[in-house]
Point group: C2
Chain length 340, copies 2
DNA sequence: CAAATTTTGAGGTACGTAAATCAGAAATCG
DNA sequence: CGATTTCTGATTTACGTACCTCAAAATTTG
C-alpha cells in the first residue's frame, strides 16, 4: 500500500496540518519541522496522489493556441490536433481556445498577444514569424506573467519558455543526407524551394541542408532557395520555371509548404527522374510518395507538438520546469514503405 | 462547470444510485430508466471524472512483462523502459513485474506462462518466439482470463489481444527502399543478416525486404539471409566470411541484433564503401552511424511499445477495446543527421 | 517573567465517484 | 388480488488531498 499524508504525519510525529503545510510550501513551519517531514517523505517514499490532488484543488488551465489560417495543409492538421486536445480537456483540466490569424502577418499576432488578459489565460502556444515585433510582444506577455511556448517555428532570443518543434537545422541536414545518398555520387544541381526566410524554421532547414551538401556531397550544387510564401501556385510556377531553365537540376528539396504546387510541377517532368524530398506528411505528399514522385518526406508529428506544448505550459503554470529531454520532437522520415 | 453524477440524476429525474447503476453497467435497472439516464448524460455532455473515479475505486493492475535475458542491447533497452514504467506505477495504478527468460528458449516462456495465477496477474506482455508451444501456452493463459499482448515480435494465430510493435513487413520494405535508392541503380549483391527465422519479426523483415528488391530494384541480388542467433561473434564471422567470399556484395541489410559484430566485420572492409542498413538504435549503431559506417538505422521506439502495452492491457482489464489506430508503433529511420 | 509572536495540532469540509445497505415502490406472476 | 420479484431511492462511507478555522503550545521578544 503506498503511503498517504496520514502515514507521513505519523512517521514524522507531526500533525496532518503540518504535513500539508510542508508539502504545499505554505509558510509558518520551522525549518526543523520541515526537515522532519521531508525525512519522513523520503523514508516512506511518499508520492502525492495526483488524481486526488487534482480533485481537491479543482484547478483548470486556460490555454490559448495561436495558429495561422489559410489553406496550408500542415497548419490545418495542427489545428485538428489542437481540437483533439480540446476534446480531452475535461480529463486534462485544460480549457483551450484557438485563435486563427492571417499567415505571414506579424502584426496580427502582436495584436492578439497584446490583447490578452493574464487573468484569463495562463499559457499561450503560438506559431510565430521570427520578427522583432513578435518577439517584443511575446516578451511583454511573459512580463505580464503569462507563459509562452513557440510551436513549429521558434522565436530565438525571446523569453518563451519552450520551443515545441523539431530541430530544423537537423531536419535540413537530414534532407541533405538523404538526397546526397540518393544521388550516390552523381553530380548535379539541387533546387531548394522555401516558403519564407522570415520563418526561422525555413531558414534553419536551408542552412542545415547546405551544410551537409557542402561538407559531404560536393558534387551537388544548390540552386536557390526560391521563396514562394508557401503558396502552392507560386511553388508550381517557380519549380516549373527552374526545371525548364536548367537541365542540370536532378534533385529538389522542398522545405516549406505548397506541396500541391510542387506535385503539379513534377507531373510535367516525370521523365527526368528527379530525386525529391519534401516536408510534412499530408494528403498530397502521401499520394506523391505512393506514386513514386517523392522519394522521401520529412515530417514532424504535430500531435506530439501540441501535446508537448500543453504539458509544458501546464507544468510551468505549476512552477515546474519541463523535462527537456522528454519533450524532444523527433524528425520523422517517411518513404512510401513506412507510411502510416 | 462540467456536470457531475448529481446533475445527471437531477436531469434524468432519478436517484444518484440509479445513475451509478447505469454508468457502471450494474444490473437491476429497467431499460426505460437506462434510456432516461443515458439521454441525460447525452444532453449534459457528462464525462466521468477519471481522477475521482480512480480515487474511489482503488484498483491496481498487476501486470507481468516477459523479456529475453542475455546481452542483446535492444532487449536491455526494452527492460530499461519497463523499469521506467515501474517508476511511474503509483501514478498509473499498475504493479509491474519483470520475468527474464533465456533467449530463444520457447520452453522457458511456456513454463512461466503456465505458472501464472490469474488472481495475481491481470495482464501479460511478452517477447515471444513464434513456435506452436508458446502459442498454445498463450491460448491457455487467455482461457484462464488473463489478457496477453505480444511485444516486439508477434504471435500470429494466437489469442493475444494486441501486438505492440512495428509492422515488420513494412520495416523490411523500408530497408529495401532505402538500400535500393542508396545504390541508385548500380547492380550488386545485398547480404542479408538475420538472427533467427523462428522469430516472426525477422521473418517478416526478410520477406518485406525481398519483396521491394524484387519489385523495384531488380539490379540488386539478395545473398542470404544468414542466421546468427543474434550473437555478435556469429555476425562478425558470417559477415567477414561473406565479404571475403563474394566481391560482388555492395550492401548489407542486418535485420537482427548482434550489431557490434557487424561493425567489427565492417571495420576490416572500409575501402569497399558498402551501403549498410541495420536495425535498432543502440550505443553501437549510433556510433556506427556517426562514423559513416552505417547509412541508416531502422528503429522501433521500445519506450512507446512498453507504454502502449500497458495502456492496452489496462484497457482490456476494464473491458474496453484498445483504439488500434492510436496504438500503432512507427517505423523510425535514423541517419547520422537526425539521431536523437 | 509576562507579553507578543510564531508554530503546531485538531478537526472539519470539499472535490466527484464508487459501492454498499436497506427500505419502499413498482411491476409481474400465479 | 395478494405474493413475489424486480427495480428504485435515500443515505452513508470511503478514496487521498487541499484548504480552512480556531485553539493550544512553543518560542521569541521586551
Amino acid at each position: 500500500m503506498r503511503p498517504t499524508v496520514h502515514d507521513i504525519a505519523a512517521e514524522a510525529g507531526v500533525s496532518l496540518a503540518t504535513v500539508d503545510r510542508v508539502l504545499n510550501a505554505r509558510p509558518g513551519v520551522r525549518q526543523k519541522t520541515v526537515d522532519k517531514v521531508e525525512a519522513a517523505v523520503e523514508r516512506l517514499g511518499y508520492v502525492r496522489d495526483v488524481s486526488a490532488a487534482n480533485l481537491a484543488k479543482r484547478r483548470i488551465y486556460p490555454l490559448l493556441f495561436i495558429v495561422p489560417g489559410g489553406p496550408n495543409s500542415f497548419m490545418r492538421g495542427l489545428e485538428a490536433e489542437i481540437r483533439a486536445a480540446m476534446q480531452r480537456s475535461p480529463a486534462e483540466r485544460t480549457s483551450i481556445r484557438i485563435e486563427t490569424v492571417p499567415p505571414f502577418d506579424p502584426a496580427a499576432i502582436v495584436s492578439v498577444l497584446d490583447s490578452l488578459d493574464p487573468a484569463q489565460v495562463t499559457g499561450v502556444a503560438l506559431v510565430a514569424t521570427d520578427t522583432p515585433d513578435v518577439t517584443a510582444a511575446v516578451d511583454r506577455l511573459v512580463e505580464k506573467g503569462v507563459h509562452v511556448a513557440t510551436l513549429v517555428s521558434d522565436l530565438p532570443g525571446s523569453r518563451r519558455i519552450h520551443y515545441c518543434g523539431i530541430d530544423n537545422l537537423a531536419a535540413g541536414r537530414t534532407a541533405g543526407g538523404l538526397i546526397g545518398r540518393f544521388r550516390a555520387g552523381r553530380a548535379g544541381k539541387v533546387l531548394v524551394v522555401a516558403g519564407s526566410m522570415k520563418l526561422s524554421d525555413h531558414m534553419d532547414r536551408a542552412s542545415g541542408f547546405a551544410e551537409v551538401l557542402n561538407a559531404e556531397f560536393p558534387e551537388l550544387e544548390i540552386v536557390g532557395p526560391v521563396e514562394t510564401n508557401d503558396d502552392a501556385d507560386a511553388v508550381r510556377q517557380a519549380v516549373t520555371a527552374a526545371l525548364e531553365a536548367d537541365a542540370g537540376i536532378t534533385a529538389i528539396y522542398s522545405l516549406g509548404a505548397g506541396t500541391r504546387g510542387l506535385i503539379e510541377a513534377l507531373a510535367g517532368h516525370v521523365s527526368r527522374k528527379l530525386t525529391v524530398v519534401a516536408h510534412e506528411v499530408t494528403e498530397h505528399s502521401r499520394q506523391a510518395l505512393a506514386d513514386g514522385l517523392f522519394d522521401a518526406v520529412i515530417n514532424q508529428d504535430c500531435g506530439h507538438e501540441v501535446r508537448s506544448a500543453i504539458r509544458v505550459l501546464k507544468a510551468r503554470s505549476d512552477g515546474l520546469m519541463p523535462i527537456s529531454a522528454q519533450e524532444r520532437i523527433r524528425i520523422d522520415i517517411f518513404l512510401r514503405d513506412n507510411l502510416p
